[in-house]
């Protein structure tokens, strides 16, 4: 009896699965797919998910506008900040004949691993977040463009500001051993020294370190004017906080990697007077910025769009404009169109140089004040009501 029962269950199982396998899925209408890759899981998920939402928003708006004779769909894939996973994701995109273009990556190592695939399969690709100079500057692939400025493009204005205008001269550098930190160190050091600054010490900290007191205590002994940090939000906030704790009351500055509300949240009161820059204008000062904010809110995403949301939004916009002009079939024409585009988007006018790098280099200056990032020009510090640490 038991045996019969088991056999029946088995038979049922087989029958159901055969039925499911052979069933033809859902009816499909003509769709054009645009790929998105980013760190949707893992340590950088906040950046990736925010960017994906913004990307999705652009596509939703395009579908709602009714300008396209087909449905545009986003295929969002995860690279988990891992090159191997990223490569698989990229291959998955190029294997899908409906995917006509893609945008991706926050992590430079992942982008460096995948752009070859998009190049080989001639899928137009726009990098929305990764900032390694080589992605465009070295490979110069005709189909690969980037809407984010490289590190070098960010460090220049920062040096001008902190050394030239604010007059700090003696620096200690702390960077993390991520690709981002490493590249920052390489870009900042010669730039600062070229402007007459002195580098007193350079320390790299491994990813995952949380206790920086030994390094900061050492730095304190060297008595620099300011600490330059090459890295991103969390570690920056921890270092800033622990600077206070070891009594190192000096200026702390970094490029856009730390320009996130989370930084001020973690750093707490020590976030006061931290100086940074960010490409583009602040969102609420942009043309269409308020519209974007409202639309984003209206779309009901759970997560904030983060620092790179506008980049992703504009990448989607560029791709959408391209397929409306060239059609989704001819990839070569698409790539050519993107390279020559003058796109008026959220971040201002974006166009690309011969290597595919954005020429939109406007940066804004920010300072931490009262738990918020305030543009330098509007801050109490510029007005003289508060003083940066000397």
């Amino acid at each position: 009896m038991k045996f019969l029962y088991r056999k029946m269950v088995l038979f049922l199982l087989l029958a159901v699965s055969i039925l499911l396998i052979t069933s033809n899925g859902w009816a499909q209408s003509k769709v054009v797919k645009i790929g998105f890759i980013g760190p949707l899981t893992g340590p950088n998920a906040a950046q990736g998910v925010g960017a994906r939402n913004a990307f999705d928003l652009a596509i939703r708006e395009a579908n709602a506008s009714g300008k396209y004779p087909y449905k545009v769909e986003m295929v969002a894939l995860d690279d988990a900040s891992d090159p191997a996973t990223g490569v698989a994701a990229a291959l998955k995109l190029v294997s899908d004949p409906a995917v006509v273009a893609a945008s991706g990556h926050w992590n430079s190592p992942v982008a460096l691993a995948t752009i070859h695939i998009f190049h080989t399969y001639k899928i137009p690709f726009i990098v929305w977040g990764a900032i390694h100079p080589d992605i465009t500057g070295f490979y110069k692939y005709p189909g690969v463009n980037r809407v984010a400025p490289t590190l070098i493009q960010e460090n220049g204005p920062l040096c001008d500001w902190v050394i030239g205008e604010l007059g700090y001269k003696n620096f200690s550098i702390i960077s993390d051993t991520s690709s981002y930190g490493e590249m920052n160190l390489k870009a900042f050091r010669p730039m600062a020294e070229g402007k007459g600054a002195k580098i007193l010490s350079v320390d790299s900290v491994t990813v995952g370190t949380t206790d920086f007191r030994p390094i900061l205590t050492k730095v304190k002994g060297l008595n620099p004017d300011a600490v330059y940090f090459g890295g991103v939000v969390m570690k920056g906030a921890l270092i800033r906080d622990q600077m206070e704790k070891v009594g190192l009351k000096k200026l702390f500055f970094a490029i856009s990697g730390i320009k996130d509300d989370k930084f001020l949240e973690v750093a707490g009161p020590s976030g006061e007077g931290v100086v940074t820059i960010k490409p583009g204008k602040p969102i609420d000062k942009l043309e269409g910025g308020t519209k974007f904010l409202k639309a984003y809110e209206g779309a009901g995403y759970r997560e904030p769009f983060g620092a790179y949301g506008p980049n992703a939004y504009d990448s989607a916009g560029i791709i959408l404009e391209t397929i409306s002009k060239t059609g989704p079939e001819d990839k070569g024409a698409m790539a050519k169109y993107i390279r020559g585009i003058k796109y008026k988007g959220l971040m201002g006018e974006t166009s690309f140089d011969a290597t595919g790098q954005t020429t939109n280099l406007m940066v804004s200056r920010f300072v931490g004040q009262g738990g918020k990032w305030i543009t330098w020009e509007e801050s109490d510090y510029a007005k003289g009501a508060r003083k940066l640490p000397q």
Binding site: F3, R6, V16, S17, V87, L112, S204
Partner: protein, 384 residues
């Protein structure tokens, strides 16, 4: 007699073809629901195979009788895979990755399965092979084929280095050493400037053979196959080679000796076995396999960075060995293939991947420590 044999051969090939088509169809399935249906179907088949004794005996008898034909048919079908997946380089990529991990898992099996040495430094040897051959290729234009040997040998050398503390340590201590070693290699790769630090090494040239670059699509019998097919056939050969090596080692004095160490180290020593040397040997061979896999990976992707060789890779390979069946060469390969394909099929659940690996290991160890395919006793044929 002859017609009967032909009939049986046809049945055998038909059975193989059925499973092969099933596999190909499974690979081409993307919707999560269908993937699950497929899996249910496979499980159902497995259970049926176990319950329905008559069919099982008939089938196993058939395969035993025509071993060579079965093997040849299997190989021939695998060789046609790139043609079936011609339009989808992604699927071929998955197969290549499955092959790479199969090599890693086969290597680790010498330690984890045969010798009972828990090595959490697979990622280190994988990375050393990858970095060694990549650096040689980028800076000195050493060809991939030489790099394959150098990468493997250098990884082996590091295996030896890792084996030295193992002379003094065992069990927990040894595992601690391997974990520490893996982390050290990761940190060093991340910090040395000549390894490119966290930026890794870009532009690793693809291998070429008789003037045919592996970056170019492969033309076979008038078909244009995506460039991944080059690597598919390469990895097919390498996995085949590794399998032969693993099988031969298992069925030799060396494999038997490793098993003796696994079962009882003291008794092994009392029977004249130089435990330290055999453990180091296992380390070296494992590292060689890892180095070879690393070399292929670096030239295949063209870019490597330390992230590829983090601790989690080691744990994943351990999971493969445990799931497949410790000390069972074929089981280990199946474990590797399963754990490479399934995460790709369930990309929607990517976030849960590591958690699921962990759960697989814990539950397997608790309820089926011998793995999906337990090792069988060695049977020696005796002419009598």
């Amino acid at each position: 007699m002859l017609p009967r044999t032909i009939g049986r051969a046809v049945i055998l090939l038909a059975v193989e073809a059925f499973f092969f088509i099933l596999f190909a169809a499974f690979m081409k399935t993307y919707e999560t629901g269908k993937v699950i249906a497929f899996l249910l179907f496979f499980i159902g088949l497995g259970v049926m195979f176990k319950e329905w004794e008559k069919a099982r005996l008939a089938l196993t008898g058939l395969f035993k009788e025509m071993k060579i034909l079965a093997g040849a048919g299997f190989v021939a079908m695998l060789l046609t895979l790139p043609f079936i997946f011609q339009s989808s380089p992604y699927l071929i990529h998955i197969c290549v990755m499955a092959g790479l991990f199969a090599i890693l898992a086969l290597g680790l099996n010498f330690q984890l399965g045969s010798t009972n040495v828990v090595n959490f430094a697979t990622a280190a040897s994988y990375g050393i092979g990858a970095y060694a051959s990549a650096l040689l290729a980028v800076h000195f234009h050493i060809s991939f084929w030489l790099g394959l040997l150098v990468g493997g040998s250098l990884a082996s050398l590091f295996g030896l280095l890792l084996g030295i503390p193992c002379m003094k340590t065992k069990d927990y201590y040894l595992s601690l050493v391997t974990i520490a070693f893996g982390l050290i290699i990761y940190i060093l790769l991340n910090n040395f400037s000549w390894t490119g630090g966290p930026n890794g090494i870009p532009n690793i040239p693809p291998p070429s053979l008789f003037g045919h670059s592996f970056k170019e699509p492969l033309s076979l019998f008038g078909y244009q196959l995506p460039f991944q097919s080059n690597y598919y056939y390469l990895i097919f050969l390498l996995v085949g080679g590794s399998l032969v090596v693993a099988h031969r080692l298992h069925h030799s004095r060396v494999g038997l000796t490793w098993n003796a160490i696994r079962e009882d180290e003291i008794a092994a020593r009392c029977h004249g076995i130089d435990v330290t040397w055999y453990k180091i040997l296992a380390f070296c061979i494992d590292a060689f396999f890892g180095g070879v896999a690393g070399t292929v990976y670096s030239h295949y992707i063209g870019f490597i960075s330390p992230e590829n060789f983090a601790f989690i890779v080691s744990v994943v390979v351990v999971t493969m060995v445990i799931l497949g069946g410790m000390d069972n060469v074929f089981g280990v390969i199946i474990g590797a293939i399963l754990l490479t394909i399934l995460p790709e099929k369930f990309r929607a659940f990517e976030d849960f991947r590591v958690l699921i690996y962990g759960l697989i290991v814990v539950t397997m160890l608790m309820f089926r420590p011998q793995g999906l395919f337990p090792q069988k006793m060695r049977i020696y044929k005796k002419e009598s």
